[in-house]
Point group: C2
Chain length 169, copies 2
C-alpha cells in the first residue's frame, strides 16, 4: 500500500525551512505613489545570480490534478531560487523535501495554498512540479536563467499518495 | 483647458518603445513537468543588476481611480526595469513617455490593459504610478533594489486629463 501524504495549511512558519510564502500577511509595507498604493516590500529571497545566472520572468500554465495525486517525481534547482505566484485565488498544493543528496523522502511535506499566496523555493529545495486544482491555472514564475545544469529529478518509488481534506485544513 | 490623453488598447506592438507586455499571447512556450504544464518563457527583459543592484519581488496594492484622472506626475527608474503583473483580471491603465531628459510630455501615451496582462517598463522610461480601476487591486512587482538613486519624479504642469472609453477600445 502506498504511503499517504496529507496536505496541511500553508503558513509562513511551516514553510520556513523550504523558502518563503509570498503574501502580504505579516509583511513589511509602506505607502508609495503619494499614498495611492501600498508597497509590500521584498517578499521573497531571490537568489538568481549564481554561476553567471540572471532573473527570468515567465508564466506557467498548469493543468488541474485530481485528488488523490500519485507523486512519482520531485525536482530541484541547485543554482537558483524559484518563485511561483498564482494569478487566480484557486487553491493549489505544494510538496517539498529539504535540500540534501539524496532527498530524505521520509521528510516530504505537503501544503495547501488557499488564500492566493505564492511560494519561493530556496536553491536546492526538492519540490514536486505544480499541483493546480479545479481548473487550468496560471502562475507567474521568477527563476534563474543561465549556464550550468540547474534541474535535478528524483523518482519517488514507491510513489506516495497525496491527499487533502479542504474542510479540515 | 487641460489637454486630454485618450487611452488606447495595450498591445505588444504599441508598447514596444517602452518595454514589454507580459502576456502568453504570441510568446514562446513549451511543455514542462511531463506535459502537465506549459512554460511561457522569458516574457520580460529584466534589467536589475546595474550599479550593484539585485532583483526584488514585491506586491503593490493600488487604490482604484475615478475617470477621468488628472495626471500630475510621472516617474522613472534609471537604474532598472520594473515589471507589474496584475493578480486580478480587472482593467487598469498605463501612462508612459519615452526615456529622455527632460521627458517629452507631448509624447505621452496611455494604454488600457483589459486582458490580465502585465507590463515591464524599460530602465529610464517615464511612467505614471499605478492606475487601478474599479476596486483595490494587487500587482506583483519585480524591480531593482540596491545602492544609488533610482527614482526620478517629474511634475506635469499643466496636468493632462486621462480618459478612457472602454466600449471604444
Amino acid at each position: 500500500m502506498s504511503r499517504r501524504l496529507v496536505a496541511e495549511l500553508l503558513t509562513r512558519d511551516a514553510f520556513r525551512p523550504f523558502g518563503e510564502v509570498i503574501t502580504t500577511q505579516g509583511a513589511d509595507h509602506y505607502p508609495i505613489n503619494n499614498g495611492t498604493a501600498e508597497r509590500y516590500h521584498d517578499l521573497a529571497r531571490l537568489e538568481l545570480s549564481a554561476a553567471g545566472g540572471s532573473p527570468l520572468l515567465s508564466l506557467f500554465r498548469a493543468q488541474p490534478r485530481q485528488l488523490p495525486v500519485k507523486l512519482s517525481v520531485i525536482e530541484r534547482h541547485p543554482l537558483g531560487s524559484q518563485a511561483f505566484m498564482p494569478l487566480s485565488r484557486r487553491p493549489y498544493l505544494v510538496v517539498v523535501a529539504p535540500a540534501g543528496t539524496p532527498p530524505d523522502v521520509t521528510a516530504l511535506r505537503a501544503f495547501a495554498a488557499v488564500n492566493g499566496e505564492g511560494v519561493n523555493y530556496a536553491p536546492g529545495v526538492w519540490h514536486h512540479p505544480l499541483l493546480a486544482l479545479e481548473a487550468l491555472s496560471d502562475f507567474l514564475v521568477v527563476d534563474r536563467g543561465g549556464p550550468g545544469e540547474n534541474c535535478e529529478i528524483f523518482d519517488l518509488d514507491p510513489a506516495p499518495l497525496l491527499v487533502w481534506d479542504a474542510a479540515a485544513t
